[in-house]
Amino acid sequence: MGIFSKNKKSNYDFSGKKFEIKIFGTGCAKCDKLEKNVQNIVDKYNIEAVTEHVTDIKEILSAGVISTPGLMINGKLISTSKVLNERELLKKLSESLDV
């Protein structure tokens, strides 16, 4: 999305990996956009993932999200107040495997 991003082919390999992705949002436009971006890469790269859009305010806060949308991968809060694009999402997913 950014001016520096290149449309190079992804060299990430997610085969055989399972993800649990949670999007925290109160139903705002940015939150829906993030959910769409996540769904797109899951479909595009055949990623095995369970995605969930959490709208309950108590759950959102106990996850540590103050500014929505929040993104959680496999139980770890990855980002807040940001609509991550495809490149960033792929990077975060692959980073979550390194831990």
Binding site: G2, T80, V83
Partner: protein
């Protein structure tokens, strides 16, 4: 700063469209093209710069910083942080709860919640484009004053029991943000520019279009009579009209520009703008999840009165 553009558009209207600049049509067409380009350029540049600065701040850091201040300095810092903290009004609810849970006084929380939407980057950029530095900066200054004073009054009213009970029971967990590098910040700023443009361009163009029509055709004396600075109700009416409208009403600034040239008070136009951003109906509905109607009503009255006072002040000063 934009003389080159002014001349370029003049010759476009005269030599390409073959319309004399002395006709109503000519000056309207010039106004439309010139203002659209000028506002878009300034909007993109200013939103980019402001967003870049804002990438150094976050609601999480602001929360941490505000925990350290008490009393009036808390209100002042909350308002100042409100200017620079990137924050979308759809996050009002989680932010409100997190502030309260962190022990930040209600009044300080409200200082943040009042100033933050009033002093938004798009409003600042468009004001700068249409009215220049002096007015844009004064707008920021009064946005802070309204936030600080509003917060102090809410604090003095001791309305803590007007917050929904469950807010006090929630436990927010801490989140360690990741560091941003230069490229992340540039990306953040560009995304923000795109986001704001996508959201408001159509309203802006419509606003400039209407502005162009008024520019050529609306009679000054009638406007002066009903919305001029001498009409004591002008400011109040503009605030009331502004409340149900959302920030897309920023497109109305070009209309305001023309109206001001035709004799409508500067303050009347500015308080309308503040009302659309600070007292938006959608945000009230969101906040209702965490605060009871009594506090919402007080909030609207305090901010509304503050904005009206600011309007009259501007009308006297400019």
């Amino acid at each position: 700063m934009f003389n080159w553009l002014d001349n370029l558009v003049r010759s476009l209207v005269k030599d390409v469209f073959n319309i004399s600049m002395d006709t109503r049509l000519g000056s309207s067409v010039h106004f439309f093209i010139y203002d659209t380009i000028k506002i878009l350029i300034l909007l993109m540049v200013m939103v980019f710069i402001i967003s870049y600065i804002r990438s150094y701040f976050s609601p999480e850091k602001t929360k941490e910083a505000l925990e350290k201040y008490s009393g009036i300095s808390g209100n002042i810092f909350a308002s100042l942080f409100g200017i620079v903290t990137p924050f979308c009004s759809c996050s009002s609810v989680p932010l409100f709860i997190a502030f309260v849970e962190a022990g930040i006084p209600l009044g300080v929380t409200f200082s943040f919640l009042i100033t933050s939407p009033i002093v938004n980057e798009a409003a600042f950029a468009i004001l700068l484009a249409t009215f220049g530095w002096k007015l844009a900066l004064f707008y920021v200054f009064t946005g802070v004053v309204v936030g600080v004073v509003g917060g102090i009054i809410i604090d003095k009213m001791h309305l803590e029991d007007e917050v929904e009970e469950y807010v006090y029971e929630l436990v927010a967990s801490e989140y360690e943000e990741e560091k941003m590098n230069f490229r992340d910040r540039i990306d953040f700023a560009i995304t923000n520019v795109k986001d704001i443009l996508r959201r408001i361009w159509i309203f802006l163009v419509i606003g400039i279009g209407i502005g162009a029509l008024i520019h050529g055709w609306a009679p000054s004396d009638v406007l002066n009579k009903y919305a001029g600075r001498d009409n004591p109700f002008g400011v109040i009416v503009s605030v009331i009209i502004g409340i149900p409208l959302y920030s897309n009403a920023l497109g109305t600034i070009p209309i305001a520009e023309v109206l001001i040239k035709k004799g409508v008070g500067v303050g009347t136009a500015l308080s309308f703008m503040m009302a659309t951003t600070a007292l938006s109906l959608p945000e009230m509905i969101l906040l209702r999840k965490v605060i009871k109607p009594k506090l919402i009503t007080r909030f609207v009255i305090i901010v509304g009165v503050g904005i009206i006072i600011v309007g009259y002040m501007f009308n006297m000063l400019f």
